[in-house]
């Protein structure tokens, strides 16, 4: 029942997004063709090309027919053509996607796991010296934006110590292969992942710690203790698991932004991901690419939310009975 109702909600959200993506370039001032294709089309527009594009987007027809043409193309995986890259938008984005997923994915997993463990440990010993040190330390880190941490790491490890590469995702033309190639990629990913992990660590940590403190006061914890369970079982299976919900929500939100979540960090490290692509596309006013990224981000947010919705009842059966 719930899943079905959820699906309908997500379907409506998706339609709104698709419509917005269709409407926006058409209500911008000036020629919609220019709004769809931006600067490059201005440079390369010949009468032949213009006729072809008008036909392709059904621009000479009614708004409904245009929308139909747009939706059909969309379901065939056609997000448009980038004149800047002289390539299909989907191809341009997909070439960058693995690098972003590598960096953002690893830091998402790391920061969530670390956040939970530190939060559980800190909450378990609330008021102790360890707790206070962790709380103060992570609270202050929480104030720094990820790109700033990235710069600090880059200056210390890249510039001053010279042990980390200054930019990119791999050493160009190093002739590496196999294991040394993998190590090279990891070496390049280390600092961006560290910056993102540290920047997002505090969120998960604080949420877990707070819920942990509330959960520890629950009567069932007393029962568990009275049963004589070991400390680790108490900490993680009983208290920890019940503190997970808010962290999952937060991770879900962040997961939705996985595609552009590393925009600033990618810029700092000149990392070839989707964030870097977004920035380039804005600079060169490559509207098809900007729109394509917008669409992919919107759809990932929907998927992430949906996944969180599915995961909730598994973690806390009460959710499925709530009305």
């Amino acid at each position: 029942m719930t899943i079905k109702r959820n699906l309908i909600t997500y379907g409506i959200a998706l339609i709104i997004i698709l419509v917005l993506n269709f409407i926006l370039p058409r209500i911008m001032p000036g020629d919609p063709l220019m709004a769809i294709y931006g600067d490059e089309a201005l440079v390369a527009m010949t009468p032949d090309l213009e006729a072809h594009l008008v036909e392709r987007f059904a621009l000479d027809q009614s708004l409904w027919q245009q929308f139909y043409a747009y939706i059909t193309a969309m379901f065939q995986g056609d997000l448009g053509w980038s004149y800047y890259y002289n390539s299909s938008v989907l191809q341009v984005i997909f070439a960058r996607l693995p690098w972003t997923l590598l960096v953002v994915g690893s830091s998402l997993v790391l920061s969530t796991l670390l956040g939970i463990v530190l939060g559980v440990e800190s909450g378990w010993r609330r008021g102790s010296k360890t707790d206070r040190v962790m709380l103060t330390g992570l609270m202050s880190l929480n104030g720094f934006p990820d790109f700033f941490l990235g710069l600090v790491l880059l200056i210390v490890f890249g510039v001053l110590l010279g042990i980390a590469p200054l930019s990119g995702a791999l050493t160009p033309y190093s002739g590496l292969s196999g294991l040394s190639f993998v190590l090279d990629v990891l070496k390049h990913a280390a600092l961006p992942v560290a910056a993102l992990t540290i920047a997002h660590l505090a969120g998960g940590y604080l949420l877990t710690r707070n819920t942990m403190i509330t959960v520890l006061k629950e009567p069932f914890m007393l029962t568990a203790k009275a049963k004589g369970l070991s400390q680790n079982v108490l900490k993680y299976r009983h208290a920890g698991r019940n503190s997970l919900l808010p962290v999952i929500t937060m991770t879900g939100i962040w997961l939705g932004r996985v595609v552009t979540g590393a925009l600033f960090v990618e810029l700092v490290f000149a990392y070839p991901g989707v964030g870097q692509l977004t920035y380039q596309a804005l600079l060169s006013r490559d509207y098809p690419v900007i729109q394509g990224i917008f669409l992919i981000v919107a759809i990932s947010v929907l998927i992430a939310n949906f996944a969180v919705d599915l995961l909730y009842p598994k973690l806390d059966p009460r959710v499925s009975h709530a009305h």
Partner: protein
């Protein structure tokens, strides 16, 4: 400018390293690898039809593909053509070609390839060259070609002969969609370098020397283009992982101190005040002159550009150009004179602002976010002179649209291409939003059109001089400043800026001939 600040921070933290290549001074000894950094990285597959239509894209292509003639720092030099002459009676050029040139795949280069190229571009225009200029091409013998022009065209060397890459007939004759031709064959040229690798996502290029190059053996065995953010470029230069790169102005002194050679390009770009000269009071020439007197362009360069630029000349052509007319009226900053001119148009000054018929003199100023600082400066200066300014930053495309539809008073805009004076016609008479679209001065209009077909350079220069005087007198738009950009390198290669830019005017140091003996 937080990014620039960070670059300074980074570089001030660096330990002072000795210059990387102190020992390797003689340029003739072969250099194994030369690495050039860039903050964008990817400029497209370096074939004539697949590179992105920006200067750095053309430059990457130009290491592989060559033109009939080329330029060094001071003049046009032979390239695929060893001699050429203009035939006035039939408005054609005869090119005698080099006879020992081979394509990278070993095939002979002949007149056939040149004729083919100009025929091919009729159906498949090369993005940088106006293919309507050459009416036809004919081969007289295996190594002589004649190009017949449609009309006399003064910038022919700059815009056509020195810009059109010559394609190998045996490869391209079967290519029907050149933009999608991305195989290894698509990068077979005659140039001193061959493409060994290109990575779109990492923004890297690897070139290796073409040892059979007809003008001499390339000194550098391997050229790499890599991607590094602007902030990290100084660190990468000092670390020695990069030999050459564009740098932020703030680190010039530091890098020079560390032994790097820093050069700057003659300005080729200008920031402009676009004026709606169709609308009162801006339709009055005196009013536009008053605006010009009211804006301190020297101070603008010092404050907004932090000194890294030149004040704009009202004749548009920068003072560094050979085409610059030193007698162009300059309207040196004089707010008193500005107010006097505005009063002459029937305005009265009350409480520091001008009024006419009880209405305050108010103008709108729109600009894209890129020009926010310049806009604020201009607004402040005009307010000081007594003109109320409503300044608004808008999304770039909206600004373009409003300017195109004459729905504005003042706007700020910039464009490049200030080398070969053919740009004057484009940016004064052209019909796009980026042009002043000013054709009511008959003498100016006539000169702008005629200078394009004047084949005598001295006569053309006189015309261009007169154009600057007329344009500066009428001021349909005002050039505010020319920014200066910097390039640092370790001195191992004698880099220079090409006369009037590479090909049609790319203001980069990377002339391929710097890398050949």
């Amino acid at each position: 400018m937080p990014r620039l600040f960070l670059a300074v921070l980074v570089i001030s933290l660096l330990p002072a390293l000795p210059a990387c290549n102190d020992e390797e001074t003689p340029a003739s000894s072969p250099i194994k690898t030369y690495t050039i950094a860039d903050s964008t990285g990817d400029w497209g597959y370096p074939s004539p039809y697949a590179h992105y239509s920006r200067g750095p894209g053309y430059v990457r292509m130009s290491f592989i593909f060559e033109t009939l003639i080329w330029k060094n720092a001071t003049e046009f030099v032979p390239q695929l053509a060893r001699e050429w002459e203009y035939n006035e009676d039939d408005n054609s050029y005869t090119f005698r070609l080099q006879e020992n040139v081979k394509w990278h795949d070993g095939a002979d280069f002949t007149a056939d390839d040149v004729v083919f190229t100009f025929d091919y571009t009729k159906d498949h225009p090369f993005q940088w060259v106006d293919n309507s200029i050459v009416e036809s091409a004919a081969a007289l013998d295996r190594y002589t070609v004649i190009l017949y022009l449609n009309t006399p065209y003064a910038p022919f060397f700059q815009d056509v002969a020195g810009a059109q890459p010559i394609l190998p007939r045996h490869i391209w004759e079967n290519v029907t969609v050149p933009e999608e031709f991305l195989t290894a064959d698509a990068v077979i040229g005659t140039g001193p370098y061959k493409l060994a690798d290109y990575s779109k996502e990492h923004g890297t290029y690897l070139y290796e020397a073409n040892d059979g190059y007809y003008l001499g053996k390339p000194v550098v065995r391997e050229i790499r283009f890599v991607k590094i953010s602007l902030e990290m470029t100084p660190a990468a230069l000092k670390e020695g992982s990069v030999d050459s790169a564009s740098i932020p102005a703030e680190v010039v002194g530091d890098l020079e101190g560390a032994g790097f050679t820093v050069i700057s390009a003659p300005p080729s770009w200008n920031g402009k005040l676009t004026i709606n000269h169709q609308k009162a009071p801006l339709s009055s020439k005196e009013f536009r002159q008053a605006l010009t007197y009211a804006i301190d362009r020297e101070a603008l360069v010092q404050i907004v550009l932090r000194g890294h630029g030149l004040a704009g000349s009202p004749g548009m052509i920068p003072p560094t150009s050979v085409w610059y007319n030193p007698d162009t009226p300059q309207y040196v900053y004089n707010p008193g004179k500005a107010q006097q001119l505005i009063k002459g148009l029937g305005y009265t000054l009350e409480n520091g602002y001008f009024y006419k018929d009880g209405q305050p003199l108010t103008l709108s100023l729109i600009a894209a976010a890129d020009y926010k600082d310049v806009g604020q400066f201009i607004a402040q200066q005009l307010e000081q002179a007594g003109i109320e300014i409503e300044f608004q930053t808008l999304e770039a495309k909206t600004v373009d649209y409003k300017v195109g539809a004459w729905d504005f008073d003042l706007s700020i805009y910039g464009h490049g291409g200030l080398y070969e004076p053919s740009f004057l016609q484009r940016y004064i008479l052209g019909e796009g939003f980026n042009s002043a679209r000013y054709s009511i001065n008959d003498e100016l209009t006539q000169l702008l059109n005629e200078q394009l077909t004047e084949m005598d350079t001295d006569k053309r220069k006189d015309m261009v001089f007169r154009i600057q005087e007329l344009y500066a007198e009428d001021l349909p738009a005002l050039t505010l400043y020319y920014p200066i950009s910097y390039w640092a390198h370790d001195g191992s290669m004698p880099l220079y800026y090409t006369m009037d830019g590479i090909a049609i005017g790319v203001p980069l140091t990377l002339n391929r001939m710097c890398f050949v003996q």
